[in-house]
């Protein structure tokens, strides 16, 4: 064991420094069955991050069956005829690997980080569970209880999670972004094995997936194995497109909830466009200006100078498939009211409309974003995730274009997007009042 490791380290040493800072070197191909494959050699450590990204999330769910994408994510660890229940995790762990998965509104992602000489095992496991999942009703019912416990932890008993769910369901009337990723409790309790199987058959198909691996392997060898294992899986009809379009909001919407909590919480959500819009780079840069670090605007003003908030910030989801909300949040300090908190956040928005952000703020935000990409290069896991993120919105090489777009943003652009989107008719407000 040790000797093998030593040789690998030595080889990496002899190979000298690896210059892999850009997306150059990515081996990108699409198999005949539609599976998108991105491979990137990175020989610094004898490890690999192997990731499967499916283009399915809560946005693909129907009313009455919310949470089904996330439920299925859990069941992906419950076995196939070849590898029985729990064997996936056992095999990964006994080979020194770490695995996990997450579901978002847009995607479901699975990863295994493991010693690179085990990559063939992971390819076999992932190819197998893409089309051979058991979905045993007994396992489904047992896992249903686990998902319900997860919901209790994340939502029922978490004030922030609870309020977020309320505001999203208020802000979206037609679009599935209205429902929580984990699903409404009644839906999770109800969903049947047949529905899960149908959902799996529809969305877990090679032409709806991206395979990304970054690590200490030879790309041609891995590609050959991927073709052998995944290539055998039949292509399927394209999953149905998600057609819902959120109608224009006319006027402010507001919700107040009461919950066992220590401090109030205020959320504000404004409807904004996706990455496809010319306004997206300014929104992205604005979210960094507002809340990345202690010098950022909202932190500096509301947390530090005015001491109104324990924490506060603003956030835009550049990678969102459909038009998301631009979120502002704040937790008032003890003694401060949610009304004061909301007013202070609104004042910051109004200030963005009347005064241009400074050159220093713009430059700092750009530098922070560019540096964060360099820091991400240090981790094979994060490199792989970043390739997938950009691939999902149009191409893995989009990172360079993304940085170019950010470089083009001016103070006038930031002012314009603030004026365009932070208006009362796009505003959704949630206030959580602690229950005594």
């Amino acid at each position: 064991m040790r000797r093998a490791l030593f040789i690998v380290v030595l080889l990496a040493w002899l190979a000298g420094p690896v210059h892999a800072q850009s997306t150059d070197g990515v081996v990108a191909t699409t198999l005949d069955n539609g599976l998108r494959v991105l491979l990137l050699e990175d020989h610094r450590s004898p490890i690999v991050s192997f990731q499967m990204w499916y283009r399915v999330g809560s946005r693909n769910e129907q009313r009455g069956a919310t949470g089904i994408a996330h439920f299925l994510e859990h069941l992906m660890f419950k076995g196939t005829p070849t590898y029985g229940p729990r064997q996936f995790a056992q095999l990964v762990e006994q080979n020194g690997g770490q695995d996990n998965a997450f579901t978002s509104q847009d995607v479901t992602s699975y990863y295994v980080n493991i010693a690179s000489d085990k990559i063939n095992l992971v390819i076999d496991l992932e190819a197998d569970r893409m089309h051979n999942l058991l979905l045993d009703p007994r396992e489904i019912n047992s896992e249903r209880e686990v998902v319900i416990e997860e919901r209790r932890t994340r939502t029922e008993d978490d004030p922030g999670g609870f309020l977020g769910e309320e505001v999203s369901s208020l802000a979206f009337k037609a679009h599935p972004y209205q429902s929580p990723i984990i699903g409404w409790m009644e839906d999770v309790k109800r969903i049947t094995p047949e529905e899960i199987r149908a959902f799996y058959k529809t969305y877990y198909v090679p032409n709806n997936a991206i395979l990304v691996a970054v690590g200490d392997f030879k790309a041609p060898e891995v590609l050959e194995r991927v073709k052998a294992r995944f290539g055998a899986i039949a292509s399927a009809p394209a999953p149905p497109p998600m057609l819902a379009v959120e109608p224009v909001q006319n006027g402010e919407r507001r919700v107040r909830v009461s919950k066992e909590a220590q401090l109030p919480i205020v959320y504000l959500g404004y409807h904004v466009p996706t990455y496809k819009s010319d306004d997206a780079p300014a929104l992205e840069l604005l979210s960094t200006i507002l809340s990345s670090g202690r010098a950022s605007r909202i932190y500096r003003r509301l947390v530090y100078e005015r001491q109104l908030a324990l924490e506060a910030g603003g956030d835009y989801s550049y990678f969102s498939f459909d038009p998301p909300l631009f979120w502002f949040w704040g937790t008032p300090m003890p003694g401060q009211t949610p009304e004061t908190m909301e007013k202070a956040l609104t004042e910051e928005m109004e200030r963005l409309k009347t005064e241009p952000v400074t050159d220093e703020e713009l430059t700092r935000a750009r530098n922070q974003t560019e540096a964060s990409f360099v820091f991400q290069e240090d981790s094979v896991h994060r490199r792989a995730a970043l390739l997938a993120r950009f691939e999902l919105i149009g191409g893995y090489a989009g990172k360079d274009k993304f940085l170019d777009r950010l470089r083009g943003v001016t103070a006038a652009d930031v002012q314009r997007v603030a004026r365009t989107y932070f208006t009362d008719d796009k505003k959704n407000v949630g206030v959580l009042i602690p229950r005594p």
């Binding site: 040790r2 800072q21 610094r44 997860e150 932890t153 401090l263 202690r294 530090y304 324990l310």
Partner: protein, 437 residues
């Protein structure tokens, strides 16, 4: 499966043959002691143009006066709030303008400053790091602000059942030791701390003769030494010796505590004192912990989550620190199932001491603990944290190799012996947070 086993056997044979020459493997980091006593650790990782730097001072919560809980953490968090040259906001702006981060804080055993910076800005980053460590001014206004923020954060953390349970358990497991106090302090203890306490704590405990500095990333050893000496070489050590911390006494008769909260789920936490890396039984205990509740192949995960559908999270883990260790089992389940989960946890803990673990479980646990090590060291930040940790705990920079060797030698009999010693449910304190009667 068969093939895998034979491969492992071959590897074990090779290990025996090559063991003497294995020492030639490059050490994880260069180590040297600077003239004023600072231990400098450097690991060259040239591929990505970033540098991770850590300073560690033996200035943790264990050194606080008992009625000043939170003093170390407060002092740590105030390091970046003003220096002889710059105000807090000036420090924030300077470091963030280059996309870097400079964070400071303290835990139970030590106070750390962490820098993550692009290689081209290393000089600036180290300038700021040296300023915050050596010449913080602890401005009165910043002190007041940080006390208020910390008190608010403590109040808010009362919302989180895991945090509430953890605080209560620490108090039960370490009743007569600083580890029993919350390192962040309490609303009351923070109210008693003065700015003078902070100034004194920094002066007494942040000192070169107990300091560790780790530099990891796109630097050479010579460059790191030069840059660190230029900024920390003149740091004079005090004439008084560092303060010693006593080991904790026994925790006494195990106790149970229920903390009522209006929640739909109850959080369970079991704990007792255990052992740290310097005890030979630490390694069998690590294997035992993994079999009991380490990963998704563990016994508790299997019975409580996979089969029972009783919890989303269930874990068993050893938690070693510099002066003592604790072992904990945690789970969160719907209120009605609390008795059943307690029963399963007790059964499985007892069974670990009553009968040997299966060969399959033993092998899985050992293979995971050994094989996953490279994943713990795959970024400059992780390497920096790891080498500071082994140095501060006195484990030696070859700890990763020794750990793997010791784990490989653990037998099922070893696991059963330490489980009998450390897993007896009757020796555990227990906390439940939730809507219990």
């Amino acid at each position: 499966m068969k093939r895998l086993t034979s491969l492992v056997t071959v590897a074990a044979l090779l290990l025996a043959v090559v063991a003497p020459t294995a020492k030639a493997a490059p050490p994880i980091a260069h180590r040297e002691v600077l003239p004023n006593g600072i231990v400098l650790l450097v690991a060259e990782r040239p591929a990505v143009p970033i540098v991770a730097v850590r300073t560690y001072s033996r200035a943790g919560a264990v050194l606080e006066p008992p009625d000043r809980a939170g003093l170390a953490a407060l002092t740590g968090s105030l390091l970046t709030r003003g220096t002889a040259k710059r105000t807090g906001p000036e420090l924030d702006s300077a470091i963030e303008f280059v996309g870097a981060s400079l964070e400071a804080g303290a835990g139970r055993d030590g106070m750390s400053v962490s820098l993550g910076v692009l290689k081209r800005d290393l000089g600036l980053g180290l300038d700021l790091m040296a300023e915050v460590l050596l010449s913080p001014t602890f401005p009165e206004a910043e002190f007041k602000r940080k006390v208020a923020q910390t008190q608010a954060a403590i109040k808010r953390s009362e919302e989180d059942p895991g945090t509430v349970a953890g605080r209560a358990l620490a108090r039960l497991v370490f009743p007569n030791h600083p580890y029993g106090r919350p390192p962040e302090g309490t609303v009351e203890s923070l109210g008693r701390i003065t700015r003078d306490d902070v100034v004194r704590f920094h002066r007494e405990h942040v000192r070169p003769d107990t300091a560790i500095i780790a530099v990891v990333g796109a630097v050479t050893v010579d460059e790191a030494r030069r840059e660190i000496l230029a900024r920390f070489g003149g740091w004079a050590k005090p004439t008084t010796p560092p303060v010693a911390v006593p080991a904790p006494g026994p925790s006494g008769t195990p106790r149970e505590e229920t903390i009522k909260r209006d929640l739909s789920q109850a959080t369970l936490l079991f704990g007792r004192q255990s052992i740290r890396q310097t005890d030979p039984d630490y390694f069998p205990l690590a294997v035992a912990a993994y079999v009991l509740g380490g990963g998704s192949a563990s016994r508790l995960y299997g019975r409580v989550r996979d089969e029972g559908g009783l919890a989303y999270a269930v874990y068993a883990y050893n938690n070693p620190a510099r002066y003592a260790a604790s072992f904990a089992v945690s789970a969160a389940t719907r209120t009605a199932e609390v008795p059943r989960v307690i029963e399963i946890v007790r059964e499985e803990m007892t069974r670990m001491g009553r009968e040997p673990v299966s060969d399959r479980e033993l092998k899985l646990a050992k293979d995971y603990l050994i094989g996953s090590f490279p994943l713990r060291l795959d970024t400059s930040g992780k390497v920096a944290d790891f080498i500071v940790s082994v140095e501060s705990l006195g484990l030696g920079l070859d700890y990763a190799d020794r750990y793997k060797e010791r784990i490989a030698k653990v037998t099922a009999a070893d696991v059963q012996r330490v489980a009998a010693k450390f897993f007896a449910p009757a020796t555990y304190d227990r906390v439940v947070v939730g809507a219990l009667p």
